[in-house]
């Protein structure tokens, strides 16, 4: 299939306005004749469900949580970018666009990113109107901070809980529509398949997680807002339930999966403390504004500190290597996430990592404490320090923090066109679930922006265009495709339950995560990826022969839920490896060791790889087909990133 | 249902009634305590009997008395209604419950404290109020024309407070009252939404002081008569003079 990204004609700044005029509208009286399914109720899904219901569509919203307010958007700490230029520091829509394209290492679509920057200003207005308590200055106006190394202060925030407050805004809008009866909310319902009728998405199959009942739901269009797949690595900063299942089932029904190998590794996470570790906790990136990153200069000293023979605070200055400051004098500790992460890994690979596992580097606040006092530091980072101490039982005022990179966000996802429509007509993907706006690397405070942009301000227009061309005839689940999908889901559930092997879903998940982290993590090689591919295939085979779960499908069965998700991760993992293997360049979150500059920086290959890799499912255990969407850059000049 | 009944049968509405009646009853306690201080005057009950006669016959007081009946009635009824509601809100209890780690005992046991106070109240009413109002008390008699035709409630007090278990009941009831007020006073303000960062701490400590003064004041009466008077109501020489001094101030 030809990949048509449907980017509107015209100058960059006018594309969206023009497009909004050109899309077909649904007559107000007809809107109530259309049903739309929204899967996921995080920022993207919650905002979309509420906005579509406000327009008059009948919305059915689904979440596997007990409440729409629990989606993982809630955990975002830092903030949300918007090109308001309230600070008079030279920000503009174009600058936000430019920073995002550049930060994404030139692997994102210009038109989408520009639209994102344009609507970013509306998001802030909308959220303020909803009662989101953003931080304010004493004069009563909105406060901003600079975030993630941006040159301007464009990040709006609500202390360290911006994601929570924004999600509660979307949740409240959604709740209002539920009360009006315009949204029918299905909680504790997990989507397990997309139903395609005559080439168009017409519904979904879900499992009621309390009763185990497999249900079918029909609609004129389906919106997926089901988040990212970082949990393919088992350990990540994602919430435990985050999974790829909805997106993956859509993929198997014809939606292409774009750039799956683009994974963001966040440098400042609390390190793993043992095998039992179930997830990783992110410490806000803002810590790098004042903390200094270092490891012992010598392997011997590192060994001593690992053995607890010397405390890190007692290591003399000349025995320390502030490696980011040494290698990147201009940016120092504030280099982008991917650079900071890779360097930490490199130090640990050299044997200079700290902590009993040797997989950590220090983030040291002693200088700033000496300079400004512990009180000032506590004002700024008190809650983060408290969280660190709660988890590690170490006092960061006295002893340097230990940090290590962890998987945080997935830039890849379902391929969508400018309208956020996947390659299946009537099936849309929004938020982290799609691939669209971040290229090969996402900037800090841009995930919230994208989720809300898609949900509030893009999908309400673009889905209307599709619906206006769909007859407003009632839809139901009587078409055989629904029964077929339902039977598929039931059979799969039965199959998982009937294996009765010896290994639990978590054991398989950990094994997969280990492979992914080792070979498809921060640094990748062709050889390693080939090895990983074979390992994953083997593991997947073992999974279907040796899985052990108990209970039945007709009850709340969390092991069964987990098994289904791990099964999909085992398929996705291989595609990620394929994607990483085929992309013979380094860019953003994808670093192939074979492709680096003499200084060890990511070396892009714009001639051969300035495209979106959109993978097409070909059947179980068949190699997927690669489709390419060429990226053209008319408004920015492609440059090599340098932070020296 | 009209908006009024809806308001006052809602959980907060019922609490508002609890609060209003409770704070009203606090004012009653103040009046009652000050009046009863007459017991401590070294006058063989003359002042006290005059006071009780006034309270029993003055039309204004008699009108307010009905308010008091309603106040108690609503306070008790709402307490019952709320307790029932609250029990229904958790039908299956916990195997382990360590509320002592997060709250004060008295706050959690207002119902028990209130019940003890209610039992006391019934005994107390029967013993003094009923007899004073509906007969059964001897006249004061004697030579003083101002008091000789009054009912001698003072002697009834003296009689009662020479019965040890009666004194014990009184003191226990006053301890309960103290704890009840310890929580109830500030709680009343909280329920009415009278909360302010500047004044709420003040209300809290005033409430504590109120609870201590009122309960100690009432408890001092049976103890005083038990310890320091003879059955005729004559005060022993070693009786503490403090209470007399306070009483004389009113």
């Amino acid at each position: 299939m030809l990949l048509d990204s449907k980017i509107p004609e015209g100058p960059l700044a006018e594309k969206w306005e023009k497009h909004k005029f050109n899309v077909k509208l649904v007559n107000p009286a007809n809107k109530r004749k259309y049903d739309v399914i929204v899967v996921g109720t995080g920022l993207a899904g919650g905002a979309a469900a509420a906005s579509l219901a406000e327009l008059g569509y009948n919305v059915k919203a689904f979440t596997y949580h007990d409440s729409p307010r629990r989606a993982h958007s809630i955990a975002a700490q830092g903030g949300i970018n918007a090109a308001k230029n309230y600070q008079n520091d030279g920000d503009s829509v174009f600058r936000l666009f430019y920073d995002t394209i550049k930060g994404g290492d030139y692997r994102a679509r210009e038109a989408n990113v520009y639209r994102l920057a344009q609507v970013s200003v509306n998001i802030i207005d909308q959220c303020v109107a909803q009662g989101v308590p953003f931080a304010r200055e004493y004069g009563g106006l909105l406060a901003n901070r600079s975030f993630g190394g941006a040159q301007v202060s464009r990040t709006f925030y609500a202390r360290g809980q911006t994601g929570q407050q924004l999600l509660l805004g979307a949740y409240s809008a959604l709740s209002r529509q539920i009360a009006y009866g315009k949204v029918k909310m299905y909680t504790r319902s997990e989507m397990l398949d997309v139903v395609v009728v005559d080439g168009q998405a017409r519904g979904i199959v879900t499992r009621n997680l309390i009763t185990g009942e497999i249900e079918t739901h029909a609609a004129h269009a389906v919106v997926l807002a089901t988040g990212g797949y970082g949990n393919v690595f088992y350990l990540s900063t994602n919430a435990k339930y985050c999974n790829v299942t909805a997106a993956w089932r859509a993929h198997k029904k014809g939606a292409y999966f774009a750039n799956p190998c683009f994974t963001q590794i966040h440098p400042t996470c609390i390190p793993v403390s043992g095998d039992y570790q179930s997830k990783l906790t992110l410490m806000s990136e803002s810590l790098r504004n004042d903390g200094r990153v270092w490891v012992p200069k010598t392997v011997e000293m590192a060994e001593r500190v690992r053995q607890n023979q010397i405390k890190p605070q007692d290591i003399p200055e000349d025995e320390r290597d502030y490696f980011l400051e040494r290698k990147y004098p201009a940016f120092g500790n504030l280099v982008p996430r991917d650079v900071a992460s890779r360097n930490a890994k490199q130090m640990c690979d050299e044997g200079r990592g700290v902590g009993s596992t040797g997989l950590a580097v220090y983030l040291d606040f002693s200088d700033v404490i000496k300079r400004t006092g512990a009180e000032a530091v506590s004002q700024k980072y008190g809650n983060l320090f408290a969280m660190y101490e709660k988890i590690t039982d170490e006092n960061p005022y006295e002893r340097p923090m230990r940090i290590y990179p962890a998987v945080h966000y997935t830039m890849g996802g379902l391929w969508v066109d400018y309208n956020l429509q996947t390659t299946v007509p009537g099936l849309y993907a929004t938020g982290e679930c799609n691939f669209s706006d971040h290229g090969a690397n996402r900037l800090g405070a841009s995930a919230l922006m994208q989720g809300l942009a898609d949900g509030y301000f893009v999908i309400p227009y673009t889905i209307g265009d599709y619906l206006a061309q769909t007859p407003p005839k009632p839809v139901d689940t009587s078409h055989p495709a629904f029964a077929e999908s339902k039977a598929f889901v039931q059979a799969r559930t039965e199959r998982l339950l009937s294996i009765k092997g010896t290994r639990t879903p978590t054991q398989f998940h950990k094994a997969l995560g280990h492979i992914m982290w080792e070979y498809c993590g921060m640094a990748r090689t062709a050889e390693g990826l080939k090895h990983a591919k074979a390992e994953i295939q083997k593991l997947r085979q073992e999974f279907w022969q040796d899985l052990k779960i108990t209970g039945t499908g007709e009850e709340l069965n969390q092991a069964l839920e987990n098994a289904g998700r791990v099964a999909d991760f085992l398929e996705l993992g291989e595609l990620m490896v394929d994607d990483a293997l085929h992309r013979n360049e380094s860019c953003g979150g994808h670093f192939r060791e074979e492709y680096q500059t003499p200084e060890g920086e990511a070396l892009r290959n714009d001639d051969e790889f300035a495209y979106v890799a959109a993978w097409e499912y070909q059947g179980d255990n068949q190699p997927e087909k690669l489709n390419k969407e060429e990226l053209t850059f008319e408004n920015v000049k492609l440059t090599q990133r340098s932070y020296k | 249902m009209s908006w009024i009944t809806k308001t006052f049968t809602s959980s907060i509405g019922r609490k508002i009634i609890m609060s209003l009646t409770g704070l009203f009853l606090c004012t009653f306690l103040v009046v009652h305590l000050i009046g009863n201080l007459q017991l401590f005057k070294h006058d063989q009950g003359a002042a006290f009997n005059t006071y009780s006669h006034f309270m029993g016959t003055n039309p204004v007081i008699r009108t307010i008395e009905w308010g008091l009946v309603l106040g108690f009635g609503f306070h008790i009824f709402e307490a019952w209604a709320l307790t029932r509601r609250n029990k229904a809100a958790r039908t299956q209890g916990y195997a382990q419950w360590h509320a002592e780690k997060n709250s004060e005992w008295t706050s959690r046991n207002m119902g028990i404290l209130g019940t003890i106070i209610l039992i006391f109240l019934l005994v107390h009413l029967y013993n003094f109020f009923w007899r004073a109002r509906f007969g059964g008390l001897p006249k004061v008699g004697g030579a003083n024309p101002e008091v000789r035709d009054l009912d001698n409630l003072y002697l009834a007090v003296v009689d009662s407070f020479h019965v040890w278990w009666y004194v014990l009941l009184y003191v226990l009831a006053q301890i309960s009252l103290g704890y009840h007020l310890w929580h109830g006073f500030r709680s009343g303000f909280q329920t009415l939404g009278l909360n302010h960062r500047k004044y709420t701490p003040l209300i809290k400590y005033v409430g504590y002081a109120f609870a201590v003064v009122v309960s100690a004041g009432f408890a001092s009466m049976p103890l005083y008569f038990f310890l320091f008077t003879n059955p005729q109501g004559e005060i022993a020489a070693n009786a503490p003079s403090l209470l007399h001094t306070i009483a004389s101030a009113f």
Partner: protein, 261 residues
Amino acid sequence: MAGSNPNAKPMNLTLNVWRQPNRTAPGKIVEYHVKDISPDMSFLEMLDVLNEDLLHAGQDPVAFDHDCREGICGSCDLFINGRSHGPEKGTTTCQLHMRKFSDGDTITIEPWRASAFPVNKDLSVDRSAFDRIIQAGGYVSVNTGGAPDGNEIPIPKEISDRAFEAATCISCGACVAACKNASAMLFVSAKVSQLALLPQGQPERKTRVENMVAQMDKEGFGACSNIGSCAAECPVGISLENIAILNREFLAAKATSNNLA
């Protein structure tokens, strides 16, 4: 262990866990033993160990709700040794670490208990009552689009900060679980006072509090008797002051709104 405490020894624990197959079936406390629990584990990781053991033994793992495991999503909800989220102040179950316990301890783990929170299975309860309370009015009625510029409504920093503090509620239900009366007042008050404080909340100020309180009562939560367990056990420190604000808002709305119903 990578934790700072190299002397921390693995622990063996006895767990008394509430097991209940589904909503209608009766439940009971069942005793389990877990071995070699690291003090650096979170409480939920300790339960993960139990569940892996149970799965390997062919038994049904213990169902419990959790998700973000960083104290913000509000999913986790265990009543541990007689207290909401266990012994540590200002901490959700997922952020409670095993170093707060000692080798040989017996830990009792129960679901939230409230008639308005029926048990789904084992330790998982249904908290949809909270959602219905929000649906009754916990929002500002603004449609997407057409909002004025964010800076057109200046809000004093102090007001904004107080509204934020109320808005940090994670809706876990610890307040209801800890309350002797199973009252949801702290939860409801957090949302009511957030929106009552902010200018955006003014147009619907009266109807909001009337409707939310009515829904709260309908769900079968108990009444507040100002005990304070809720705020003491709240993992994010929602203050009792909010309940006073709720009471005030309710009284003022009932006294002055035009709603005769």
